[in-house]
């Protein structure tokens, strides 16, 4: 547990090694080995730390490590007079961060291993570059997760954004890839703007950035039930950042395009870890959010709407990865819904399970794409079951998990969320339920189109023609011909199996009491979502409303096992479970009927509801909308400014320069024709005059003497006349 600081630094070290030396010197094997070994070690250390954490008493489950002081205390103005603005390189291990670290390192490790096989087609330098990026991402992600204050967290936050940009644009030769990278980066900036403002406001309000301190300070403040106060503002800003990172409405547009990156990247960053950072932030600041119920409502609504919208879009997408991307968006929506209704534990629980099965699904799809030599269109797949059984089985497990079929992990987490939503708001529950149905449907649509039915892909001659679709992701791009769909190498299938196991068992940490389990994860996570005990006590002493606030704040974490309060009878709980399972089964049945038994029905439906279909395929025209408004507005504004700059500013500059030149020219003319003219005139006059006068200068001395004599004569005459 004291080695926790190694958890982020090991991947960082690997990244540095691969980035500085690997690109030039390492072989593929060496580069992959470095990355995987560092991640594996980080995984082991985090497991060990986690075990150590479990060994402690629930109240004392927190361990701080301060590596160094980043910013020495600087006196700054805050709400309560001058506060010391300081930021240590501090890491904190507590249940939440421990769990997150476990997820990140574990899934990350598996995906690293998977990448060794998947990226086999790349050249040596690019291979090392890929792994250094991946390690760098893990480093930043772990910094984000383990950071003990908002600033360190923000470092990780921006770092993962950077890595996401780098990895989406990994194939930067492809215009679409680099565009997607830029899009993701810019959209994230919008969110980060809110996040930074939130950090400022947090410091201004509480005079500190440490989570624990912030939580304790916030716990002693009244719940802004009625008005929209400082805490609400903080939460809203942080939530804006979360939406940016976690692709919630309205900033969800970047995630589907992010699928331009390599599939393992999609699995790690855009499914398992980074996109869940937003959820993590909200959960990390649970106390703040519980004191801002209005913002909680907003979060819940945004979440559920995102879930529904993404699910509907997912219905009609044909790109296998895009389907998964939209499902990711929708699952993230679920998580925010959970946080919105105060079920932070459920959110984190779903986050964990989702990390497993969604990573599994992505890797599986990657395997499929690998098999199809880079083709991602499901309409050209089908009947791959017999070619790649391992992929089929694992993906089936993942699909069942996401669909919420017991006893797979997705069932527990999603059911928990639905249950808590039902308790909180019926309308939201209805929408979430519809989303669940749609989820089951489009996931099995994916499965059917991919693995069942007849093969619709291109024919292949044995070892004859080159791979269609350029095969940028194709492991076989390296050795020419495509031999048709086939099972992936072991280095890829083993992680699939591991994740499948995870997808199955991960749910059992949160079996509800209704199923005679004790919601272990909730109890485990509880300290992370509440203020420290001392603060809670004095908050209770602080007065009636404070107590009610505290009580209300703790419902989110404790209602599940509290007798009384907002609670349902066991029967009702059972009913809800059955209903949700029923929904999933219904979705599965529809998908089976439409895409396996009678595939033509789907087409006919698409024709009958052409309008909605087109709208869905075009993702509600959100991109077009943004393109028309923000992008176009920005571009036009920029162009306008540019024109202004060129016309007015440059015009002014050029004008002044022109005026200068004109005046210079005028003075030049003046100089040339007036001043020089006078001088030349003088010289001319002198010269011409000398032409006349020099006649006298005969050089004859005696003439000069004669002139002298005449002068003497004249003088004498004058003398005589004047005396």
């Amino acid at each position: 547990m004291s080695l926790i600081w190694l958890v982020p630094l090991l991947p960082g070290f690997g990244a540095a090694l691969n980035g500085l030396l690997g690109i030039r010197f390492f072989s593929k094997r060496a580069a992959g080995l470095v990355a995987c070994v560092t991640m594996g070690l980080a995984f082991g250390i985090s497991i060990w730390a986690f075990v150590g954490l479990l060994g402690l008493a629930p109240a004392a489950r927190a361990y701080d490590v301060v590596l160094a002081t980043w910013i020495p205390p600087i006196p700054l103005e805050t709400a309560h007079g001058i506060g010391a603005f300081e930021a240590p390189w501090g890491l904190r291990l507590d249940p939440l961060s421990g769990l997150m670290a476990l997820v990140v390192t574990g899934v990350g490790f598996l995906i690293h291993v998977y990448s060794i096989g998947y990226m086999d087609g790349e050249t040596r330098g690019a291979y090392a570059r890929y792994f250094s990026y991946l390690n760098l991402f893990c480093f930043f992600m772990l910094t984000l997760v383990l950071g003990s204050n908002l600033l360190v967290m923000f470092v990780g936050w921006e770092g993962v954004g950077l890595c996401s940009y780098l990895l989406i644009g990994y194939w930067y030769e492809k215009q679409s890839a680099s565009d997607a990278g830029k899009k993701a980066f810019i959209v994230n900036r919008i969110g980060d703007w809110g996040f930074v403002l939130g950090i400022f406001l947090v410091f201004f309000t509480f005079g500190t950035l440490d989570f624990r301190a912030v939580a304790d300070a916030a716990a002693s403040m009244p719940v802004e039930a009625a008005g929209f106060g400082t805490l609400s503002l903080i939460c809203l800003l942080l939530f804006i950042g979360a939406t940016g990172k976690s692709a919630q409405i309205p900033l969800h547009v970047w995630l589907p395009d992010a699928m331009e990156g390599p599939t393992p990247v999609s699995a790690l960053i855009h499914a398992a870890t980074m996109v869940t950072a937003g959820v993590y932030v909200v959960a990390r600041n649970a106390v703040l959010f519980t004191h801002a119920p209005m913002v909680m409502q907003i979060v819940a609504i945004v979440g559920v709407l995102t879930a529904l919208m993404a699910a509907t879009i997912g219905l009609v997408q044909n790109d296998i990865k895009r389907v998964l991307a939209y499902s990711t968006v929708s699952q993230l929506g679920y998580m925010f819904l959970a946080t919105g209704v105060g079920a932070f534990a459920a959110a984190v629980f779903h986050l964990m399970t989702h990390a497993f099965f969604k990573a599994l699904l992505f890797l599986g799809s990657g395997s499929v794409i690998h098999a199809m030599a880079g083709d991602q269109d499901m309409r050209r797949m089908g009947a791959l079951k017999k070619y790649m059984p391992v992929t089929y089985v694992t993906m089936l497990i993942g699909t069942l998990a996401i669909a919420g079929i017991p006893p797979f992990s997705g069932f527990f987490s999603k059911d928990e969320i639905l249950y808590r939503t039902f308790l909180d708001n019926r309308l939201l529950w209805a929408l979430a339920a519809v989303t669940a149905l749609l989820t089951a449907f489009y996931m099995f649509r994916l499965m059917s189109m991919t693995f069942f039915g007849g093969y619709r892909g291109p024919a292949w001659q044995h070892g004859a023609d080159a791979a269609p679709g350029g095969g940028h992701g194709a492991g076989h791009g390296g050795h020419g011909a495509w031999h048709g769909p086939h099972e992936s190498p072991r280095v890829m299938t083993v992680p699939l199996m591991a994740l499948a196991v995870g997808a199955i068992v991960a749910g059992f940490v949160g079996v509800p009491q209704a199923l005679w389990g004790n919601n272990a994860i909730e109890h485990f996570l509880e300290p992370s979502f509440t203020a420290s005990a001392a603060v809670r006590g004095e908050a209770v002493a602080g007065g009636a409303d404070a107590t009610t606030d505290a009580a209300r704040a703790e419902t989110g974490a404790e209602a599940a096992h509290e007798e009384g309060g907002a609670h349902l009878s066991r029967g009702a709980e059972w009913g809800l479970m059955l209903f949700s399972v029923l929904l999933a089964v219904t979705g599965i049945w529809i998908a089976w009927r439409n895409y396996v038994v009678r595939p033509q029905v789907a087409a006919s439906l698409a024709e009958r509801f052409a309008g909605p279909h087109r709208m869905l395929t075009n993702k509600y025209y959100v991109d077009e909308l943004y393109g028309a408004t923000f992008v176009r507005g920005t571009l036009d504004g920029a162009r306008g400014l540019w024109t202004f700059d060129r016309r007015v500013v440059d015009g002014a500059v050029d004008g002044s320069g022109w005026i200068t030149r004109l005046s210079a020219w005028i003075s030049h003319m003046l100089d040339t024709y007036v001043v020089d003219g006078l001088v030349n005139l003088l010289g001319w006059v002198t010269g011409e005059g000398s032409y006349v006068l020099r006649r006298v200068q005969t050089g004859l001395i005696q003439n000069y003497a004669l002139l002298m004599l005449i002068g003497v004569f004249g003088l004498l005459t004058l003398y005589l006349l004047t005396r």
Binding site: S690, Q697, T698, G699, L700, I701, Q702, A705, L706, L709
Partner: protein, 102 residues
Amino acid sequence: MVPITPAHYLVLSASLFVIGVIGVLVRRNVIVILMSIELMLNAVNINLVAFAREWQHVVGQVFAVFVIVVAAAEAAVGLGIILAFYRNKETVNIDEMNLMKW
């Protein structure tokens, strides 16, 4: 016969002076011109000495001495110039000494 008054000496020296002037103005031989200048100086001296006699005071002779000194200096330098010029242009004709002109 009238007594000899300074006027006589004046006329004499004037005539001598004018003769020197004519020599300067007419002759083209530089040496002769210099000699004419000597004549003019002598005319001056005659005047000086005559008036010294008239006034019974030798100051005029003193001036005459200075005049002679000047004449000596002038002769020396002038003849040196003539020699130098002659070495260069093989002539003492003053009409050919007209380099200093436009």
